[in-house]
């Protein structure tokens, strides 16, 4: 699986809160400098954007002024509109992801634990996985219509594939000798699973969760762009149709922020769940 290194985050991204806090506790001046330098480009772009729209170099429909986008954002926050759409999208992702991830976990465990199941299922599974989630949407639309069911299925499928593959690979990767220790200790099958196999496969399962969530989020945006009357993807399409670029930009920022928060949330929970694994790590 070479598909795994996609999300390697670049350098320790100086994200706002911790760095600011560190700077206040005053030891880490370099961190603060890094943070300041990191802000140069965004502010530079913002300035260029502001000048460009202020001078009327680009028509309002192509590039609305930052002030206008800002006021739209405030308006959408005040009216709760952005939270409403973000909430709809989030609910869909959570439900779809849970379905997909649980199904993937079970399927992956079955494939990882039993050669027989693996032999039967893997070729068909890989053939299905070959077709991008986006490809399935029109087909599923014909069968399920454009309601909630469609969205949940598409999002679940996004999570299912990486979850299954990584869980199966993780379980396969648990060293034979560990399992033998379990035999020596006369563990029951359940104990072996719970105390040896699953902890051994945990890092790989987490990789699956991470990719699953990323894929779910992408699938959500895709399915909402194609067929939805609420949610962030709908906001994007709607803003596009009305030529309200300010709405489009606010929706894009919301998509980015939620994606970022989910990623960070996973980071935290991964460290927490695998805290026993500290010494070994890399």
């Amino acid at each position: 699986m070479s598909i795994i290194s996609q999300d390697v985050s670049l350098a320790p991204a100086p994200n706002e809160v911790p760095v600011a806090r560190r700077a206040r506790t005053s030891i880490n001046r370099r961190g603060f400098r890094r943070f300041a330098i990191a802000l140069v480009l965004p502010f530079g772009l913002l300035l260029a954007w502001w000048i460009a729209s202020n001078q009327g170099w680009l028509p309002e429909q192509i590039l609305p002024s930052p002030a206008y986008v800002y006021s739209t954002a405030l308006e959408m926050i005040a009216s709760g509109e952005i939270f409403y759409h973000a909430g709809v999208s989030l609910r869909r992702v959570v439900v779809g992801f849970l379905f997909g991830a649980l199904a993937g976990l079970k399927l992956g465990m079955a494939m990882g634990l039993s050669r027989r199941v693996d032999d039967y299922v893997r070729p068909l599974f890989l053939a299905f996985a070959q077709i991008p989630t986006l490809g399935w949407i029109p087909l599923l639309m014909l069968i399920f219509g454009i309601g909630e069911t469609l969205k949940i299925i598409v999002i679940a499928k996004g999570a299912l594939v990486p979850m299954t593959i990584n869980t199966a690979a993780g379980i396969r990767g648990v060293p034979e000798s560990f399992v033998e220790v379990g035999h020596a200790l006369r563990f029951s099958r359940l104990q072996t699973l719970r105390l040896i196999v699953l902890p051994g496969a945990a890092p790989s399962i987490f990789t699956g969760i991470r990719y699953g969530l990323t894929h779910s989020w992408t699938a959500l945006v895709g399915v909402e762009l194609l067929a939805s009357s609420e949610g962030l993807g709908y906001l994007l399409v709607w803003g596009r149709q009305m030529f309200w670029l300010d709405v489009v930009i606010v929706a894009m920022i919301a998509v980015g922020v939620i994606g970022f928060l989910m990623d960070k949330g996973l980071d935290v929970s991964e460290v927490y769940v695998q805290r026993w694994n500290d010494r070994e790590g890399e």
Binding site: S2, R34, I131, P132, P138, G222, L225, F260
Partner: protein, 262 residues
């Protein structure tokens, strides 16, 4: 020939087991669509799918449509991955560029790829240009991430050797950074290829002007022609599979020297 018998039977067992489910499903499909157990609009018979495929291939120039899709895919992929490697090299080489640009890049990459489409369609319209820009972005991101990572993790001792030999900047790139980052670059390019195919399909869905396989599927959906949609989806899968294989082959060819050094 010299394969041990047990090995051979094991392979046969695997093939037999692997084929079981698909065959069962196909039979179920055929039986239920012929026997009228399922509405034929939702599940057309295999024969109908086959005839649709034939019709599209021979009469409706499916190959041509596919050519358009692949053309966009390839052009966007090369632009995106080429720029991606250059960009990542810049970030990996220059501390200043790294400090200035990397955080912003990391922020922007959080925005899910498809969310760029409305903005791109406003800036570049619905034509070829917009699609290629989108495909290029899709390839750009994973290539940058992996190339950067690979160059950042070039072994310290190699870099020190470079210092000791008083390498120039160009030598440092060509002799140390690129070779040691090559596996990561290959991974990035491989991912870039997969993502750019996904993006090609996405672009054709959402910027639905002009020929292409994505357009075909959308048309099938609008006409409620399940057989056509199935043919389109199948093609997506096959092309994705071939691209994937191609990338894997090129990757292992380019990295063949590694096997000997380890």
């Amino acid at each position: 020939m010299s394969v041990p018998a047990s090995f051979r039977t094991r392979r046969l067992v695997r093939i037999r087991r692997g084929l079981t489910l698909p065959v069962v499903l196909l039979v179920l499909w055929e039986v239920s669509s012929r026997g009228g157990l399922v509405d034929a609009r939702f599940l057309p018979s295999l024969e109908e799918v086959y005839f649709t495929a034939k019709r599209e291939l021979i009469d409706n120039n499916l190959i041509g449509e596919l050519g358009f899709s692949l053309f966009r895919n390839v052009v966007g992929f090369f632009i995106g991955s080429g720029l991606g490697i250059l960009f990542a090299t810049l970030l990996a080489l220059s501390r200043t560029a790294d400090a200035l640009i990397t955080p912003t890049f990391n922020g922007l990459k959080q925005i899910s790829l498809l969310a760029w489409i409305p903005l791109i369609s406003i800036w570049f319209g619905f034509g070829e240009q917009a699609k290629i820009v989108f495909v290029a972005i899709a390839a750009f991101i994973p290539v940058v991430l992996n190339t950067y990572e690979g160059m950042r993790n070039a072994p310290r001792d190699l870099i020190e050797v470079g210092h000791a030999l008083q390498f120039t900047r160009v030598q440092r790139i060509a002799r140390i950074l690129v070779p040691s980052a090559l596996p990561s670059i290959a991974t990035g390019v491989h991912l870039g290829l997969i993502y750019s195919w996904l993006a090609t399909v996405g672009a054709e869905y959402f910027l639905a002007v002009g020929p292409g396989v994505g357009g075909l599927i959308i048309a099938g959906r609008e006409r409620f022609d399940m057989a056509l949609v199935m043919v389109g989806v199948l093609i997506l899968g096959v092309v994705g599979f071939i691209l994937n294989r191609l990338a894997a082959t090129v990757e292992s060819y380019l990295l063949r020297w590694r096997a000997t050094t380890h």
